[in-house]
């Protein structure tokens, strides 16, 4: 009895097996038919595109979209979207050994973000220091060297100028910042500066000390951008300077009574010249500079921002700054950068 039951069960299993095999056959058969549409062509399969074509399709998408959208669509598209072949060309002058490391771990998307989309400066949203009178004394990265007139004033939202519709670039691994606060100057020169150790920042981006050296010595593109603007009721002036040096000297104990002694150590620098702000043109403008092909040996960047008003009014009627950013790679605002360059050209000519 037990034996026949067993046989029956076996037969049942076999029968089940056979019928399931048939099922598989028939489904694969129908799916074969389904693959041919009425016009006698194969079913669309975007992953079946030739590699070269797939690459050129994905290459037209913004890196952020590749990661935020394509990666989540399907396994196949994800592999294509983070493939080394696709990303390799988005980088210039990466040290060879570092490149190998990145390729083996498929870290290109992350590195793109870390180098080109994170801020090397710290505390870039001045709006969040309101009510904290001692912000200058804290290790906020910024150092006030001139507190002329009534001194710097943090504003959020910025007063007597439209809000700046720009998200300040956050630091690596920091939460995004959604509103841009401003720093407004007073009736005598106000000045604030920040020094950035580029070598350390690169090491935070997973480069070894040697890789960081060769990356910097290779003259990697380094961009500084900042938005500046004046009030609608007062003329003002702004002055921006970026100095790149070897970082070997400690930053001089500089109080701002004289011009910043950048010539002493600078390997290269950018000086915006005196920027005059007209009340008629009451909106934010971009000042930006991309360092390219600079000599070897640069390890530190020093940013110096100066502002004041023209008619010596009590209060904070001087030029304002917002959303400063220092990062590798080209400027994030190509259109505004081109406009700024054109304006600079016309005033110097």
């Amino acid at each position: 009895m037990a034996a026949t039951d067993l046989m029956g069960a076996l037969r049942g299993m076999l029968g089940l097996d056979v019928s399931s095999a048939q099922d598989q056959n028939s489904t694969s058969y129908t799916s074969d038919i389904g693959a041919l549409t009425t016009e006698g062509r194969q079913r669309m399969d975007i992953l079946g595109l030739p590699d070269g074509v797939m690459l050129s399709v994905l290459d037209r998408l913004n890196p952020r979209e590749l990661v935020s959208t394509c990666c989540l669509v399907s396994q196949g598209l994800r592999d294509a979207a983070i493939s080394n072949d696709l990303w390799r060309n988005k980088f210039v002058d990466l040290p060879e050994e570092f490149r190998d490391l990145i390729e083996s771990r498929r870290l290109y998307p992350w590195l793109w973000h870390a180098l080109y989309q994170t801020n090397l400066l710290s505390n870039v949203n001045w709006g969040n220091i309101i009510g904290n009178r001692n912000w200058l004394m804290q290790s906020s990265g910024w150092r006030v060297t001139l507190h002329g007139g009534h001194g710097w004033s943090a504003e959020s939202p910025p007063a007597a100028i439209p809000a700046l519709e720009v998200k300040p670039l956050p630091r690596l691994d920091a939460a995004p910042i959604n509103t841009a606060g401003a720093l407004a100057s007073s009736y005598m020169w106000c000045e604030v500066m920040q020094a950035v150790d580029l070598h350390t920042e690169l090491q935070k981006r997973r480069m070894s000390s040697r890789d960081a050296d060769s990356y910097l010595d290779g003259g990697a593109e380094l961009t500084f951008s900042i938005w500046y603007g004046g009030r609608g009721d007062c003329r003002s002036r702004a002055h921006i300077m970026v100095v790149l040096d070897s970082g070997r000297d400690a930053l001089v104990p500089y109080t701002g009574r004289h011009d910043f002694p950048w010539e002493r150590t600078a390997i290269t620098h950018w000086d915006s010249g005196m920027l005059r702000l007209d009340p008629q043109d009451n909106n934010w403008k971009l000042a930006t500079h991309t360092f390219r092909g600079y000599p070897a040996g640069i390890r530190r960047a020093i940013i110096v921002l100066k502002g004041k008003d023209e008619p010596w009014w009590a209060g904070h009627y001087g030029a304002k700054f917002a959303a400063p950013e220092l990062h590798f790679g080209p400027c994030r605002w190509p259109a505004q950068a081109a406009a700024a360059a054109a304006e600079e050209g016309s005033t110097s000519a």
């Binding site: 006698g40 975007i46 952020r64 989540l72 669509v73 399907s74 396994q75 973000h113």
Partner: protein
Amino acid sequence: MRNIVLRANDGADHVISVAAASLCKTVASLLQDLEASKGEDTDPLIVPLPNVCNCTLQKVLGFCEQQRAFDELCTASPAAQQADLTRQIQAWQMEYMQVSTDELYHLVMAAHYLNVPRLLDLCTDAMAERIRGKSPAQVRECFGLKPSLSPEEEEEIRRSNLWALN
């Protein structure tokens, strides 16, 4: 002038001029090889294309003929009209690319097989345009893909790519 016959996979024949065919690098190189080995020939050359269906082939040939016509116009017209002509070409290409995703896919495959660089450029642009600004689910729907990531995998990807998602 020699005529070229392109035969689609269902046997339909399409006659095109050498000038238009020269945009298809695959056909052009075939033609060159033949001429090098056999010399000038006036018989029509039949090229069977087992990978390309009739309606896609028609679409590709439409592109070749039209581009050829635009090229002739470009060389003939003075520099002052070039901008106007470029606008005209762009408008035509916009119109041309109004196809379903399925058709677009076959167009890309055909353009790749026949090696028509300009059409391939146009198609990859259109393809990228269909991914741009969409959510993963919308992209899946657009290209008829089935979700192949498990929720855990998806969560893992989201976590490692947090920077791109906010």
